[in-house]
């Protein structure tokens, strides 16, 4: 529950107008920092909802699949340039962003990840690797502005940033494969 409180504090901090303005003023920070942090705040607050509505999660998200699909859809939606643009220009969309990312992406991620079978996790990773690679390709390659609010150079920056994130996820998976994870089990062998 302490973590849930930290999540709430993080959420409120991100919602402060000067903080939101600063983070949204740089395209890549908007997409790859503010949004993931909103998801993280929801992830942290997830515990609160799990305790409050245990039945709900059991009924609708027993194996984690519906939750992770919701997470994937919501986060992918916010990667669409049009969605980011509107978050900046239309107040209602901005509010929707601040509700959907924590509640419809962060909370379901929290509830689903532990329940997912390893295939589910792998598929999620692969999906995000592909998504970031494709985004990188599009954003770097595109010669015209896809967002009205951001310059072309910022767009290319997002492209390179997406490639970097994809690379990090790939390295993470590689080390999962090549390093025997049972090494880190707490149980002392005798």
């Amino acid at each position: 529950m302490k973590l849930a409180k930290y999540g709430l504090v993080l959420y409120l901090f991100l919602a402060l107008p000067p903080v939101a303005n600063l983070l949204e003023s740089i395209m890549i920070v908007h997409m790859h920092m503010q949004m993931p942090l909103l998801i993280a705040s929801g992830f942290l607050m997830g515990r609160f909802f799990q305790l409050k509505f245990p039945r709900f999660f059991e009924k609708w998200n027993s194996n984690g699949v519906p939750g992770i699909i919701l997470f994937i859809i919501v986060w992918s939606y916010w990667m669409i340039p049009r969605a980011m643009d509107e978050a900046i220009t239309i107040q209602a969309v901005e509010i929707f962003k601040f509700i959907s990312l924590p509640l419809l992406a962060g909370v379901p991620l929290r509830d689903s990840w532990k329940k997912l079978a390893s295939v589910g996790k792998d598929i999620t990773f692969v999906y995000f690797i592909l998504m970031f690679l494709i985004m990188g390709w599009i954003y770097i390659g595109s010669e015209s502005q896809v967002c009205n609010n951001y310059l072309l150079v910022e767009q290319k920056t997002v492209g390179f940033g997406s490639l970097a994130i994809a690379a990090c996820i790939i390295i993470y998976l590689l080390q999962l494969i090549f390093i025997d994870q049972s090494e880190f089990d707490e149980v002392q062998k005798d």
Binding site: V153, A164, C168
Partner: protein
């Protein structure tokens, strides 16, 4: 001290005999290079101090910037790198029960590569073909051989990294379910940082080589500076980790106490490794071509290192107080008196820690945008890093010498040598207080760094700096005496001190301590996080610098 030594021999002979003779030779070779560099670098330091004070005039065949380049490179890079490699390889050998033969070979290959590299770079400096200062910022262009020498140094460091990683994996495979010993853990962390630190600067150097040879016409100055500080700042935190490894693991034993919570120590290490690299931007606060908002975000990056620093300060003082009280210290500060101030193995790192308080405070000034405008490129900065590197780091290194070298050479620290060490420590401290203190003040008055003559035709503002510059010379003289004593002590302990056994003073955990959790060993994860933090920090400015680049600069030789 005598008794605890006997006890250790009885209980655990490997504690005494842990580093085998072949491994000891590796470490001693690195330490020899370190202290030869210190001697040369120290002499050059005095030359600079005297020249700045106007007390000497350098002959026409030797210019100030040549001297300054050599001083910076020899002390900042060669001395600190070779010392820490020698020290850490000894720790690794001690903690893991000897190096693998293969790993020892890596260490020797690294040694040879580094010597070749340093020889190439230094030769070019001596020939006055590379007076580019240790930062070698483009568009200042050195002779290509200077850069090629740097490549060799990096290759040497990578060989040492490979050795450590191999030994670490080997140990982990054979010890399932156990956390690595603290000393090996620190070693692993430092070499992970070495590896990722040198990637940035290697990319930079590979762009500078064809440019200095004239194969490429221009270079991107901003990218060069950014990649340099990716390395330069990380180097600072490499020293920091090396120093705190001694503070956490050896100092508690020397004062007769136990080390602080294993888990907290490892958490500090992980934080430094993961968060460190992007701090490099605080060296570029005045650089154009990095937008204001990015600089603002980076303030958080660089202040985040204060978190592990404060944790360290807290932990160390907790250990001191606990130990002092156990030894019978009473009252609020009575425990302070119970600490072994007469033991150089304690006194030197203790002064190092105290000076870190001042160094850290100065660092916060440097990293704050508005304050940086006042002190940027003034002597303040030189004062700052002579306190941080020159005292916090270097005195810790000196303190380590007084047990590590006798241990490796199978000799003893005599009471006489201990006394000499105390004298050395005091001289060094006083010298640095005088030199660095006056540098701080005169920096606030505007005296520029990296400038051989600052009389400006006798302008009155500049005239006010002269008394302080005289103080540099006084401090510098004391410091050179300190260097000479230290180098004498090191080689005396290596070759002439009476034969005998010396203790490797590794502290034990408290009796009721819980062992560190296994997740701390997830280096794969820490490295991915490190990369993610680097990506977050560097993508924006670097893409901006490249896509919005000005025409670029041809090589320039200003000397």
């Amino acid at each position: 001290m005598e008794q605890s030594l006997k006890e250790t021999i009885r209980q655990d002979p490997k504690k005494i005999l842990g580093v085998n003779p072949l491994d000891a030779k590796v470490s001693l070779s690195y330490l020899t290079v370190a202290f030869v560099s210190l001697l040369i670098g120290g002499i050059l330091g005095l030359v600079q101090g005297l020249e700045r004070a106007g007390l000497i005039d350098l002959p026409s065949w030797l210019n100030y910037y040549q001297v300054l380049t050599a001083h910076g490179l020899l002390l900042l890079l060669v001395f600190t790198a070779t010392f820490s490699i020698g020290y850490l390889y000894a720790n690794l050998s001690h903690a893991l029960g000897g190096l693998l033969p293969k790993v020892r070979k890596f260490a020797w290959v690294g040694f040879v590569l580094m010597i070749i590299g340093v020889a190439m770079a230094v030769t070019m400096i001596v020939l006055n073909e590379a007076s580019v200062l240790y930062t070698f910022y483009p568009p200042l262009a050195a002779h290509p051989i200077f850069y090629i020498g740097l490549v060799f140094v990096v290759l040497g460091i990578w060989a040492c990294c490979a050795g450590v990683f191999i030994n670490y994996r080997h140990w982990r495979k054979n010890h399932p379910g156990q956390v690595t010993p603290l000393l090996a853990y620190f070693t692993m962390a430092v070499f992970v940082l070495w590896f990722f630190a040198t990637i940035g600067v290697t990319i930079e150097v590979f762009t500078l080589i064809p440019w200095s040879m004239g194969l490429v016409e221009t270079t991107n100055v901003m990218v060069g500076r950014t990649l340099f500080w990716w390395f330069g700042h990380t180097l600072v935190n490499i020293w920091y980790l090396v120093a705190i490894s001694a503070w956490y693991v050896f100092v508690p034993k020397i004062i007769g106490g136990r080390h602080f919570s294993d888990k907290l120590i490892r958490l500090v290490v992980i934080l430094v490794v993961v968060l460190n690299i992007p701090g490099g931007f605080h060296h570029q606060i005045i650089d154009p071509a990095i937008s204001q908002s990015i600089k603002f975000l980076h303030v958080f990056m660089s202040l985040s290192i204060a978190v592990p620093s404060l944790m360290t300060a807290f932990a160390m003082f907790a250990v001191f107080e606990r130990t002092g009280r156990k030894l019978g210290g009473k009252g609020l500060l009575g425990w302070l008196k119970k600490l072994p101030w007469g033991d150089v193995r304690f006194l030197a790192p203790m002064i190092a820690m105290i000076s870190f308080i001042f160094g850290g405070a100065g660092g916060i000034v440097n990293t704050s945008n508005q304050l940086n405008q006042v002190i940027h490129n003034t002597m303040w900065v030189v004062g700052h890093f002579h306190i941080t590197v020159g005292v916090s780091v270097v005195l810790t290194f000196f303190g380590i010498c007084y047990w590590l070298i006798p241990y490796l050479a199978k000799r003893k620290l005599t009471p006489k040598m201990n006394k000499l060490g105390i004298i050395q420590t005091v001289i060094w401290t006083v010298g640095m207080i005088i030199m660095s203190g006056s540098m701080h003040i005169v920096g606030l008055l505007g005296d520029p760094r990296r400038t051989s003559d600052t009389t400006y035709g006798g302008h009155e503002a500049a005239a006010g700096w002269i008394p302080f510059e005289m103080l540099f010379a006084v401090g510098a003289t004391l410091l050179l005496i300190g260097v000479i004593i230290q180098v004498y002590a090191v080689f005396n302990m290596m070759f002439f001190a009476p034969k005998g056994l010396t203790e490797y003073p590794v502290a034990e955990p408290e009796d009721d301590a819980t062992p560190a959790p296994m997740w701390t060993e997830r280096w794969g994860l820490w490295i991915v996080l490190l990369l993610a933090v680097v990506a977050m920090a560097y993508v924006v400015p670097i893409v901006d610098m490249i896509l919005n680049a000005p025409p670029g600069s041809p090589p320039i030789r200003t000397w």
